[in-house]
Symmetry: C2
Subunit: 395 residues, 2 copies
């Protein structure tokens, strides 16, 4: 059997492939991107299930509409008011996790060879999803305050076949950085001159534990603005409820057709449950609890890195979200370090899969949300010892 070129070219997820080793009981794993399960509102979700079944009966179990449960779309639209955005329920499409929105975007926009701008490094799930549409990727350097604007401007100017720019502006995956207010404006000023879709994927935006909330780049002012969101990091990832927002009606129409052909509609049982949960609970207070938890974990990891890592190793200090990005000394392979670290029963994700075009790179991603402070300290201590060895060998 000859398989399609698109699947032959699609990488399987490095993270999901290493889950078998990193998931063993005695391994300290900073590799996954899992929310802390103590943050799940289990009891309230159970109440929401029972109330929904009692109030809505068989509607939870029947086929439903492709666009998604209308009252849930209304609640999601209302979330954007705090950013001054006037989003209507019909600007919202419920997706099977926001991962699905990425895959649908690739399908709807990209002919083989069309251009897609990616952050370098960028979210590996987006690389994977877009690869299925066989684009030409343009990697733009991600600086500590967002995309390199000059590089972006030059790339857009030289490549009229670019259809889409993909960004994670808040507490970026994998680096943890946040686009500055100035960078957001500068990117808008460049992008507004082109007929391209600007995607702002924002699964972590509500999890800010430091600094001020910043406006979207394209949301509310670019015709081709796309905003993505998810309940995976704030309520539950297991129910796979994400969403896609655009005011471009034509794009929305094609996204809906693509969604229909892909899985008819998103699990309606879970849509009712999430809607009921949001309607009967103090969501903001719940999110505040997650923020406190993650702030403590992030601070703990940063303190441990300052204590145990050699000065030559650099790392980001996120204002929210779930990740820290580590840059090793020039020439050190994070992939090689991964093997050594696994011998010490500590896991992380080497940088390679976050680039469309790099190998044996000297960067890596650490997740802090799924370990206790004690475990974080111990894991970083072990990594630090390895890094001091590496440093000594080089010196």
């Amino acid at each position: 059997m000859q398989y399609s070129t698109k699947i032959l070219n699609t990488p399987s997820s490095f993270i999901r492939n290493i889950l078998k080793v990193t998931g063993e009981a005695d391994v300290i794993s900073f590799a996954g991107g899992l929310p802390n399960p103590i943050s799940f509102p289990t009891e309230q979700l159970q109440q929401a299930v029972n109330r929904s079944i009692e109030e809505q009966g068989t509607k939870l179990f029947q086929y439903s509409t492709t666009q998604g449960y209308e009252p849930l779309r209304e609640l999601i639209a209302a979330k954007y008011k705090k950013f001054g955005l006037d989003i209507h329920k019909d600007d919202v499409l419920i997706t099977t996790g926001s991962q699905q929105a990425l895959e649908l975007l690739g399908k709807v926009l990209i002919n083989p060879g069309d251009g897609v701008v990616m952050e370098a490094p960028g979210y590996l799930g987006a690389i994977q999803a877009f690869t299925l549409a066989e684009p030409e990727f343009f990697s733009i350097t991600l600086e500590e305050d967002g995309l390199d604007v000059e590089e972006l401007a030059a790339t857009l100017a030289a490549n009229p076949h670019i259809k889409m720019i993909y960004t994670v502006p808040n507490f970026h995956n994998p680096t943890g950085i946040t686009y500055s207010r100035e960078k957001r404006q500068a990117i808008y000023d460049v992008v507004k001159n082109y007929d391209v879709i600007l995607v702002e994927d924002d699964p972590y935006g509500e999890l800010r534990f430091r600094g001020e909330s910043l406006p979207y780049m394209g949301g509310g002012r670019l015709e081709n603005s796309v905003l993505l969101g998810s309940f995976s990091k704030t309520v539950t990832p297991g129910m796979r409820i994400g969403w896609f927002v655009t005011k471009n009606k034509e794009l929305m129409g094609y996204m809906e057709t693509a969604k229909q052909a892909t899985d008819l509609h998103t699990n309606i049982f879970s849509q009712y449950v999430i809607h009921d949960y949001l309607s009967h609970n103090a969501y903001e207070e719940h999110v505040e609890k997650i923020i406190s938890l993650y702030r403590e974990q992030a601070d703990c990891m940063i303190a441990a890195m300052e204590k145990y890592f050699p000065d030559t190793v650099k790392f980001t200090k996120p204002e929210g979200g779930m990740f820290i990005w580590v840059t090793l000394e020039e020439g050190v392979s994070a992939l090689q370090l991964f093997d050594q670290a696994m011998e010490q029963k500590v896991a992380f994700v080497p940088g390679d899969p976050f680039y469309t075009n790099a190998e044996n790179i000297n960067t890596l991603r650490l997740n802090y949300t799924n370990s206790t402070p004690e475990v974080i300290e111990e894991g970083i201590r072990r990594l630090g010892a390895l890094l001091h060895q590496t440093s000594a060998v080089k010196a």
Copy 2:
């Protein structure tokens, strides 16, 4: 914005588009393909939810594996024992409804221009899903006992670029027919000579209310056999739990990568709930109740058609499933009849969207599972009156 050629060529679902008119309260709708909501085991599913949360806790709410919940895959694998098939849990991939399996198959197998054999008429959701992969469709006549074998053999012989044959062998959608034992063997004898994937999509197979259960065509004996199944017609469609089965490890690997890129994994909450439901309830007895219900509804519709329809109108007599296929007099447009019927507040699906290459055809699909016997009688009476008028005009 220039959208992708694949989305520009993908039809949006005729059925989903007419839902707005056919869904109005005073319309008798034979248009949808909805299971009867009285068949949903609502109370038992609610118990399953509560038991699952109490026993498994946060595992229901966390990210999970792409392949699907292992105990659920085991239960699904075991279902095939009654057909003498030795399916292992690792031969099963849980999908977001079986619709997703179709879309993933297109993605994994089809390069633009590769051939896909479709039944004519065939399932419109499959036409839609495969269209996204830009194949060349080969429509093979569907006879009352299955695909026209000579046409299939000639088509396969003449077109080495055919990658996949898509079939619904039991209580076919849209026609309600079932492939005969002889046809199944004859199709196997042809297909075994080619390196093609034979898909047997079987969402209705358990809903047999007449006749004997028949073996799969390729399952258990073709290396490239694919079986699809779903809990949508027997437990609940709202939770979107379907599955994909193959013993071809290479194909399974690519399907898993495609699934990963598409939505990471299927709703794990619902997988736990369905597994718990199946483990604590008499599933076979539950299915027997659905069968009794649908048998009565089918018999009622057939009796009404014999009473009210002109003799010139032909229709199938299904042995199970959810649909009856009606063939009007030569030259009568079912699309035109649809408009007239909607004036009489009766809805059905005209045949056109079930073909890759036909327009204004004289066939239509009726669903009987979602109306009471009284409503079925009244709806068929109204349609019959219209058909007698059409007949009189032609005479």
